[in-house]
Symmetry: C2
Subunit: 340 residues, 2 copies
């Protein structure tokens, strides 16, 4: 049996292209002691992957040339050498990689852990979006750094994305007023549909800083920043006293990932407003995933968390899906569904 | 009797000049009920004053054209309408202003409070430097934001200044390794004399970022930033995982105070290192001043806190002293001593 795999072909200079990866074939591997073999059903596309294909040092080891591209997925167990797992179980893990079959080690700890998917709770691919890493990202960023409270004004960028859509809705549950920033009117219309109080299109707004000031005359108390870049500057020029800025992502820099990021030095605004800016990585908080999942599932069950996925069909479309996500072409969480 | 005063003559565009203020004469005022009249003995020069002469909004009301320049001082009570104060007492307050005589209201709360100076504890002008606002600034910035611990590497900019000299020594008491950055070899030699582990001259160092990396191969755990600007960028490119960046001042921008501050957007480094950047203003923490003073006084008494002042003699030298401090011409806390 053949296991198709996407291997890293080159470290991209600037934006990745369809040629950044190449499709290869390998034999389907056999699980060793304590391992399981899974057939991939869903693969996740996430901005952190851009860091993994950069030659520069990032927070974890990147993908080498000729290695299987890293990424999380969901799949069905087809063979098991582990007492707790049997064929037909559904597994979710960060360690699938871009391949049709993967061998996983359920006893690995932390972020490498393999989770058994409770399909009664939600569709399995939810484990890659609102019940998974993006859900944990929104939950931790908001509650550990942003700390929204009733009456606060919160701004979130990439507002309709996998993380942004959750941030806005959870912040509203906290009693905050939510302003979403995204790059198309369709995305913004959907954000308003799921309860955002106001929205801004950064591509058509000629004075984003002024537009934020008009929507947040008392200043921005919480900024959940998924993009970095000029949107970051426009919001930082509108901070309220005691603001919290959650530095979650920098997808605006996708085209110049390894270059110097030049823009606003916010020192002056941070002093005058006594504000806090903090970066974080969801993988550090994997021990909090059960807590986050329980809350997210309850909100979802009660209709308080409406989510949206952007699904491409076919394993061969992985690079296309990656480029789609990095350029903001997706509406909601970007996923690829593999054929039966 | 005549009260000489320095009045604001104009809002400076960029750097202040000797003509930013003009010397005027007024009658010595009389204290009203509950007030005291003091004869100024010492006046303090501090970077926050640059914000007070800016026409743009800052964190508090600025000085209007024709108004007495704001500033803290120490002086002797010459008349009192307050039961707790008698002629000969020494008063310290933020509300002296640049004038030879001032009327103060001892019952004002918070940062506007008038403190009776215990001259047995330290020379009275210490209340304007290590026992006063700069001391509180170092204490709060370090313990509320920087939180140095044994084994940490701390970098402080404007290292020999009123705040920097304290930050470095207190951080060493915490068990941290301290790297000081300043703009002259004399300043750096003195920093090493009072115990700093290493120093860097930002004016002669051609690769500040690389020089910091060489001195802090494990990264910078705490950065106490008094300058902003390119020094800020060089340190932020060297943060360790979990770093804390204390945004205290931005004196590097003295020449372009109201312009846009363009430089490194640190989002990427903050995510990768999971670091925190926080601005603060000592005036928010006035309620902690007794605690800070007690600790600072004990360290000073035990010889663990060595401090240095830069004294100019004569009230007429106030603008000169201000320019000297803003351009880094001072060695240690900048003060002006008034005659008899």
């Amino acid at each position: 049996m053949i296991n198709r795999q996407w291997l890293l072909a080159s470290h991209p200079q600037g934006q990745a292209t369809l040629d950044t990866w190449r499709l290869a074939e390998a034999p389907v591997p056999q699980p060793g002691p304590g391992q399981i073999l899974v057939r991939t059903q869903w693969l996740s596309l996430d901005p952190y992957m851009r860091g993994r294909i950069s030659p520069s040092t990032n927070y974890t080891k990147g993908v080498g040339i000729g290695e299987v591209m890293q990424g999380g997925g969901v799949g069905e167990v087809v063979a098991s050498n582990h007492d707790d797992w049997k064929p037909g179980d559904i597994a979710e893990a960060m360690g699938f990689g871009w391949q049709e079959y993967a061998v996983l080690s359920p006893d690995l700890p932390g972020a490498a852990r393999v989770n058994k998917v409770n399909t009664a709770l939600a569709p399995p691919q939810a484990m890659l979006s609102w019940l998974g890493m993006p859900g944990l990202t929104a939950y931790i960023g908001l509650f550990e750094i942003g700390r929204p409270k009733p009456g606060d004004t919160l701004v979130v960028s990439a507002a309709s994305g996998a993380v942004g859509q959750l941030v806005g809705q959870i912040a509203r549950l906290c009693g905050a007023r939510v302003i979403g920033i995204a790059g198309s009117d369709d995305k913004l219309a959907w954000c308003r549909e799921i309860g955002f109080d106001a929205t801004l299109n950064y591509k058509t707004e000629t004075d984003l800083r002024g537009a934020i000031a008009a929507l947040a005359p008392g200043g921005v108390d919480v900024f959940f920043d998924n993009t970095g870049g000029p949107i970051h500057d426009a919001v930082l020029n509108n901070l309220a006293v005691g603001a919290r800025v959650v530095i979650c992502g920098r997808i605006a820099l996708a085209n110049d990932f390894d270059g110097e990021d030049i823009g606003l030095r916010a020192s002056s605004r941070l002093i005058v407003t006594r504000s806090l800016v903090q970066g974080f990585i969801a993988f550090d908080w994997w021990h909090r995933r059960p807590e986050a999942m329980a809350r997210l599932a309850a909100w979802h069950r009660d209709g308080k968390l409406i989510t949206r996925e952007d699904i491409l069909d076919g394993f061969e479309r992985m690079p296309e899906a990656f480029l789609r996500m990095m350029s903001g072409g997706n509406m909601g969480k970007q996923l690829v569904r593999l054929g039966g």
